[in-house]
């Protein structure tokens, strides 16, 4: 392991470019919200939000320079969030599918 803890310092230009991309995505998501895309409104809004999250996490939070262990922990956290969302929605959304005897 290298003793140099400051081996990855991104240029200010990189940060400004990421920031400009984030602003463009914010304008895009706000503008597209007024267009009637039916059920895809949610999909488009969440895809744009995920892109913004990735930009912030990878560049501003330095995930792309972080150790494998930190990355694993981040992915693990998202996995647990996925379990929370998926299993609960899997229950709630399917409750009407099967009739309950005696009701």
């Amino acid at each position: 392991m290298s003793n140099d803890v400051h081996q990855h310092i991104d240029s200010a230009r990189t940060y400004v470019l990421v920031f400009l991309a984030l602003i463009c995505l914010t304008v895009a998501t706000t503008a597209v919200a007024f267009v009637d895309l039916g059920p895809f409104s949610v999909v488009v809004a969440l895809v744009i939000a995920c892109c913004k999250m990735l930009l912030v996490a990878l560049f501003f939070m330095h995930v792309r320079h972080s150790t494998r262990l930190t990355r694993l922990v981040v992915l693990g956290g998202l996995l647990w969030l996925g379990i929370l969302l998926l299993l609960t929605l899997g229950d709630v959304m399917t409750r009407g599918w099967v009739g309950v005897p005696g009701r």
Binding site: V5, Y15, S41, A45, L78
Partner: protein, 231 residues
């Protein structure tokens, strides 16, 4: 047994405490610890996002009317303010990594100001909701519901309960973040953070960006996704 007591293998400093072998190891441990804390925060907010998703799927019509009653332009402007504060925060971290002591203070102060602007706009939005009787309680009334009855009004109150819980918890994190920034500014002015040791700036930066990411999801979910129905 006293003879077995070992002296530290290296000089102790802020960047390299006795229990670590190298400064890099200490920095990695601090970063990992902060991420584990942030993941508990993800689960914490995740429950609220989940509750919102479930109730929105149960009462989509009422939630659409309630959601479109929020002013989207204030929300979008506030998103830009918060993203800008993330830029100034990351530039403060960069200044710390380069040991530019004056720039650290400058960028931290800019971040604090932008955080204050965000909270100010948030307070204005909440006050609008108060004036419009959109705060859950006996005085609550939302126009435009079909059918406009007690049950629909109840479901609309559910939306605004979640709205205030989610934006309120987010704002509470911002207030804590502002306190942490004040501490950093105070310490940075004393010249405490250098190219060798800047872990607090780095970790509080992670926290600030995390709070930004929460807003990145709150903004579309609360303000945007039903906007086309209100036109």
């Amino acid at each position: 047994m006293a003879s077995e007591m070992q002296l530290p293998a290296h000089e102790e400093s802020l960047a390299l405490r006795e229990q670590f072998d190298t400064a890099a190891q200490q920095k990695d441990a601090s970063t990992l610890g902060m991420w584990i804390f942030l993941i508990t925060e993800i689960m914490f907010f995740g429950g609220l996002f989940l509750a919102y998703t479930v109730y929105r799927s149960m009462y989509p019509g009422v939630f659409a009317v309630a959601s479109t009653s929020i002013n989207v332009y204030w929300g979008a402007a506030n998103t830009v303010v918060l993203l800008t504060s993330s830029l100034t925060m990351v530039l403060a971290v960069r200044a710390a990594q380069l040991g530019q002591k004056r720039l650290i203070v400058l960028f931290l102060i800019l971040t604090l100001i932008l955080g204050g602007v965000f909270l100010g706009v948030k307070a204005k939005e909440w006050y609008d909701k108060y004036e419009e009787h959109h705060i859950p309680g006996p005085a609550f009334h939302l126009e435009g519901l079909n059918p406009d009855n007690v049950v629909s009004q109840g479901h609309a109150q559910l939306f605004f309960s979640l709205y205030f819980a989610m934006t309120g918890l987010h704002a509470f994190h911002m207030v804590i973040g502002a306190g942490l920034l004040l501490y950093l500014i105070f310490e940075a002015r004393k010249g405490r953070y250098t190219a060798e040791y800047n872990t607090p700036v780095d970790l509080i930066g992670l926290y600030w960006h995390f709070v930004d990411i929460i807003w990145i999801f709150l903004f579309p979910l609360l303000y945007l996704i039903d906007r086309h129905l209100g036109k």
